[in-house]
Symmetry: C2
Subunit: 190 residues, 2 copies
Amino acid sequence: MELLKKKIETEGKLLDGGVVIVSGFLNHRMDIGLIDEIGREFYRLFADEKPTLILTVEASGIGIACMTARYFGVDVLFAKKKAGKNVAGEVYSSTVKSFTKGVTFNIVVDKNYISSADRVLIIDDFLAEGEATHGMIDLCAQAGAEVCGIGICIEKSFQAGGAKLREAGYNLHSLAVVDDDENGRMTVRG
Amino acid sequence: MELLKKKIETEGKLLDGGVVIVSGFLNHRMDIGLIDEIGREFYRLFADEKPTLILTVEASGIGIACMTARYFGVDVLFAKKKAGKNVAGEVYSSTVKSFTKGVTFNIVVDKNYISSADRVLIIDDFLAEGEATHGMIDLCAQAGAEVCGIGICIEKSFQAGGAKLREAGYNLHSLAVVDDDENGRMTVRG
C-alpha cells in the first residue's frame, strides 16, 4: 500500500533491536485519513472472505480494526490483555510474549462474543514474531471459529512471524513490509 | 442519545460496586454501527468547537475516538498507560487511579504529538470519578493545549466526576447517564 509505505519511509524510524517507530501516524498519534485508507484496503483484500467478526488485541489494533469494520459492516472484538472487573463472564485465554515490551501476558475474550458460527478476520498493526497473532488464532480455535484472513499493517521481514503463518496456510496480507538491511537501515516494500 | 440508551437498557448490567457492564457492544465487543452513530453525535455536539486533535486513553477509548475523528477530519492521540520501547521521545505524564481496575498508573503522551496550538476534544467510554479525564486534562495543560470539549459515552451519576467537571466549567457532554437507584437497579437517561 503506497500511502503507508511513504509514511513509513518519511516518518518511521528503525531502532536497535528491530523496533520500528511509527508512533506519529499509526500506533500513538493516529492519522485518521491514513487509517481509513488502511481499512478500505483491508476491505478490498478480504471482502470475498465474508468475515462475520474482526478480532484484534488491545491497544494499538483497536482503532485500525474499527475503521476496517466500518467497511465490512461487522463488529470488532478486541482481546484484553488482562481480565478486569468489566469482563464479567467466562473467557477464552491464551498466552502471548510481546517482542516490543519484552513481557509475557494473557489475552482473553469473553466466551459470549465469539462462536463456532464466526468467520474471523484478524487485524493488527504489527507482525514480528507473530506471537500476538498466534494468540488470537488460538482464541478462535478455542471458540471453534474459523480464521478467514489476517490483515497486518506492517510486517517485519527480519522476524519469522509472517513466514510461519504463510507456511501454515493462513490468508495473510501485510500492507507494508519492512526490511532491516545489513547496515541497520530500514527499507520498505509497499 | 436514544440508541445508546436502549442498548444499555436491554444489554447492559450493573454489578455490585457500581461497575456497569457494556462489554457486548461498547468496550470489548464493539457494535460498529452504534460506535459510528456515537461518532456522528459527538460531531454534532462539538463541531462548533473546531477541535484540532482528539485525545483519549487506551484501550476502550481508542475505537470510539477514531470513529469520532473521521467526522472531524482530525487525528487521534491516545495516551498510553505505560511508555514502551515504541514510544521513543520525551513524554508528558500524569497519574490516574482506575475505578474499575482498582489500580494507580501513569498515562503518557509523546511531547511531539500535542502542542500549545491544539484545541483538544477529549473522548472516553466512561466517566465515573473522572480520574482518567483529569489525567488527560493534565496532559493538555502540560502541553499548553486548550481542552475545547469532553465527550463521554456513559456517565455514572452516582460518582462525582461529571459534577466536578461541570463545576470547573468544562464543556462536557455525556451521551447516556446511568443512575443507580437505592435498590441497586440501573436506570438510564438518554
